[in-house]
């Protein structure tokens, strides 16, 4: 049953904020027990601070009371990273959504963590700038959440993931201490801890301010859709394009089932009969775009592409991207739940691993669809199911394990961009030795000695050095590990 923080605890937080920004009704807390994954956690209390000072006050009080804290952005994460366990306090940064400063000369922006990814790009569009990492959820996800998961996105193929775009951060630690990391200087003094905090999944503290690098909008962009008679042919095209020396701005693949589901939503006249669809975007100067487009067309022809459909204008380009970026949500048209995996394999092994994934689906009688960042081998096999059927859930679980094992077996890793969270926590030993895990746990402990920040996430229970043993965290409803 749901855990409640005592009314006295609620009142102490309410005294720091105002009562409207502390949520303790059981039904309302329940809504904060979830993120974009399917795990239902157990949230004890929710606070919605608006400033760093309020975050500090909340963190100090949580420290005094010994309450675990789970930071939350938009709650669009897919690995249970923002799912609270055992009545933890959820600290939502959704109301910290101001863009504090834009400096076009660097160019960079200083933002609060609750600013939505796409809102930032929209706000700087008139300066010819954008924020490059563009997860599929970019219209809804927060920059703070992007930092926590080291989020990727289609355009990270050429421009790099979140870590490559974070210049500085302000982070409030578990005891309320405020730490500033990095800044606009190219190389900060001392150890560069930014790379550790980005991807920290809320286990190190609450990031309360972020200085992000902004990127210049490319002068020319061409976006193409190529359809293929087989998934293998599409895989060959991916290898061919990169082999020809072209790193497209983005290169995304969608298989037939996915295309059918998405077409029902976007109505973009997608080729629903093709086995696989490749979305390739090239950008740069007019000459670069022309020569790269020619390479894509040539490789497409050599590998059996049916036709290359070039976006006529910005509206059609936006439609192609809407198709790609609404793919996950569109799955509900097939089944009410989906389990979305996120693993990376060497690009050269893509075709082979896709075949294995379809095989796993057939063996376990499950609908598995694929939509993913083909250019960097970041797979997103997506299993559609109905969580109301426990037997089906068992099979989904089994398929997930087989897929992860298959990816790791060909030299892949557990997560490309979604993070480890709860979902992949217990798979960590597949890629890390006990010594590796202990080293990571020690680093985490340097930030949070009591283990109160987002406990029971990322590192498997028992990884920590010393005598501190985390509460294992009774696994929330809907999770399997």
């Amino acid at each position: 049953m749901a855990t409640t923080q005592a009314p006295a605890v609620r009142d102490r937080f309410a005294a720091l904020l105002d009562p409207g920004r502390v949520i303790d009704h059981p039904l309302e807390r329940r809504l904060y027990g979830r993120d974009g994954s399917i795990a239902q956690g157990d949230c004890g209390l929710v606070v919605l601070p608006e400033t760093t000072a309020e975050v500090v006050a909340c963190m100090r009080l949580a420290h005094d009371l010994g309450i675990p804290v789970v930071p939350r952005g938009s709650g669009t994460g897919l690995c249970g990273g923002a799912v609270p366990l055992d009545g933890a306090l959820v600290l939502s940064v959704a109301r910290m959504s101001r863009i504090l400063e834009v400096d076009p000369s660097v160019p960079c922006a200083r933002v609060e963590p609750g600013v939505l990814n796409l809102d930032l790009s929209t706000a700087v569009r008139h300066l010819g700038l954008h924020y490059a990492p563009d997860p599929s959820s970019q219209q809804a996800c927060s920059i703070g959440g992007n930092v926590a998961t080291n989020a990727g996105g289609p355009h990270c193929l050429a421009s790099g993931v979140t870590a490559q775009h974070i210049l500085g951060m302000e982070i409030v630690l578990a005891d309320g201490e405020v730490l500033r990391l990095g800044g606009t200087a190219p190389d900060p003094p001392g150890y560069d801890l930014r790379g550790f905090v980005v991807g920290g999944e809320g286990t190190l503290g609450v990031v309360t301010e972020i200085t992000v690098r902004l990127s210049r909008n490319p002068p020319h962009v061409t976006t193409m859709l190529l359809d293929f008679p087989t998934v293998a042919a599409a895989g060959a095209a991916v290898g061919g394009i990169i082999g020809a020396g072209v790193i497209p701005a983005a290169m995304e693949m969608m298989d037939q089932k996915m295309v059918v589901a998405v077409e029902a939503f976007v109505r973009a006249d997608l080729p629903v009969e093709a086995a696989a669809l490749l979305l390739v975007e090239v950008d740069g100067t007019a000459a670069e775009v022309a020569s790269h487009t020619a390479v894509v067309e040539r490789v497409g022809a050599e590998t059996g592409a049916g036709r290359v459909r070039v976006a006529r204008d910005e509206a059609e380009r936006a439609l192609f991207w809407k198709a790609r970026k609404s793919a996950f949500g569109a799955v509900a048209r097939i089944a009410p739940n989906y389990y979305l995996h996120d693993c990376v394999v060497p690009r050269t092994r893509l075709v082979e691993i896709l075949a294995r994934i379809y095989e796993i689906g057939a063996e376990l009688d499950l609908v598995i669809m694929n939509v993913f960042h083909a250019g960097d081998g970041n797979l997103h096999p997506l299993i559609a199911f109905d969580r109301r059927d426990p037997e089906q859930v068992e099979r989904v679980h089994a398929a997930g394990t087989l897929i992860i094992e298959a990816c790791v077996a060909v030299g892949g890793v557990l997560s490309g961009e979604h993070g480890i969270g709860l979902e992949k926590r217990d798979f960590m030993p597949l890629t890390f030795s006990a010594t590796d895990l202990e080293a990571q746990a020690c680093a985490r402990e340097a930030f949070d000695p009591e283990g109160r920040m987002n406990p029971a996430k990322v590192l498997p229970i028992g990884s920590r050095c010393g005598e501190i043993v985390l509460d294992a965290g009774s696994l929330p409803e809907g999770t399997w590990l």
Partner: protein, 402 residues
């Protein structure tokens, strides 16, 4: 944890299980939800509201005052529905959730609302009488006694206008039944006359339905489906002989288009309801012959029940009359009128009203086209609060001035 029995009250309409489970909680609706944008609270978001419905559906929660607040804070603007890749039919879900919430509301408020929705609205003469009372109250400046928040949502009824007739029929050609409607007929009579002229100009014999006869949308949106069905039957009976059915308020056209669904379980009416629904056009969808009405620049407000519920807008109609249309640049965010919302949630509505009025004023256009009575009242109030002189007008009035 096993699946427990649902906690819905079986005697009332409820969100359908098959709709509720469609939400995969991806969160893509969040940025499109005006109340989430204002509060940052999951409890004021579509995903949160659906999760609350699901909690009741699965027996993890009961319908209590917290549930009711979440559902009542919703504008039912359906921006989330248009943004949802999973096709979650949020509009009909929120109607079911509000029907369930009804018993948790204070008895007095329920009584007043119920009297209005099931006692007055289904009786056109009472609606018209209420209009006259409102007109008299306004003439005596009694509206000043109302709290400021309610004053902003009071319909602009005028005794002079109530005395001026609206032609019952106009024009030649195939028969078009034009919905008189409740609020429109009482408070927006110049729009009603302009509507008749536009329908006639589009090549129809325009014929009005019973004066002040309501389509039932408000009753449906506020948890009174039986009253809504009764009103639907009355309107169907007087509109089904027409080639087309025309409504000039976005909420009405959107609702009439769901008559088939509303009466699906009524064998005597299901087919007739489907037919009327299929013949329904919003006024802004008509195509009168283009003529330059010298409109100049017109700011365009998209009513939620046009943009999100029906995917239509008035730009084509206005451009045909020579208007240079400018968008408000706010992504079509709800103005906060939303049926009775501005009365029931005055604080949230006031913030949305201000945002919308600022967006209208920022266009620099002298006039804003608004094709819904609630939005028109709300935006006019917002502009007054800003001290702006921008005029609010229905597209019909703009393209066919008296």
């Amino acid at each position: 944890m096993g699946v427990s029995a649902s906690n819905w009250d079986p005697s009332r309409p409820a969100p359908l299980e098959e709709d509720v489970v469609k939400c995969v909680a991806c969160g893509l609706c969040l940025p499109h939800c005006p109340t989430f944008r204002l509060t940052g609270r999951e409890t004021a978001s579509p995903r949160g509201r659906i999760a609350a419905m699901r909690a009741v559906e699965e027996g993890h929660a009961v319908v209590d005052s917290s549930f009711t607040t979440m559902m009542d804070e919703c504008l039912a603007c359906r921006a989330c529905e248009a943004a949802c890749p999973s096709g979650v039919p949020f509009g009909r879900m929120i109607e079911g959730a509000r029907a369930q919430a009804e018993p948790t509301r204070p008895v007095a408020a329920r009584g007043i609302r119920r009297a209005g929705l099931t006692g007055v609205l289904p009786r056109p003469r009472l609606v018209m009488a209420a209009g006259w009372l409102l007109g008299i109250a306004r003439a005596l400046r009694l509206d000043r006694l109302a709290p400021a928040a309610h004053r902003a949502s009071s319909p602009p009824v005028s005794l002079t206008e109530l005395r001026r007739p609206i032609p019952r029929t106009l024009g030649e050609g195939p028969l078009a039944r034009v919905l008189s409607g409740c609020v429109m007929d009482v408070a927006f009579r110049p729009t009603q006359r302009a509507t008749m002229r536009v329908v006639a100009a589009a090549g129809y014999t325009a014929s009005r339905t019973t004066p002040a006869g309501c389509c039932g949308a408000l009753a449906m949106h506020y948890g009174q489906p039986e009253a809504a069905r009764a009103m639907a039957r009355a309107r169907i009976a007087e509109m089904e002989d027409a080639e087309i059915v025309v409504a000039n308020a976005s909420g009405c056209s959107a609702h009439i288009r769901t008559y088939g669904e509303l009466l699906a379980d009524d064998p005597a009416w299901a087919a007739r309801a489907e037919q009327v629904a299929a013949r329904t056009r919003d006024l802004i969808e008509l195509q009168p012959p283009p003529r330059d009405a010298g409109l100049g620049t017109v700011a365009v407000h998209d009513a939620c029940h046009h943009l999100h519920a029906q995917g239509i807008g008035p730009r084509g109609l206005l451009a045909g009359a020579g208007a240079h249309c400018v968008d408000l640049g706010d992504g079509g965010r709800c103005c906060g009128a939303a049926g009775l919302y501005s009365v029931l949630q005055p604080e949230m509505a006031a913030r949305l009203r201000r945002q919308k009025a600022e967006a209208v004023a920022a266009t620099g256009a002298p006039v804003v086209a608004v094709a819904n009575p609630g939005c028109a009242i709300q935006i006019a109030a917002g502009l007054r609060e800003l001290g702006s002189s921008v005029r609010v007008a229905h597209p019909a009035e703009l393209i066919s001035p008296e």
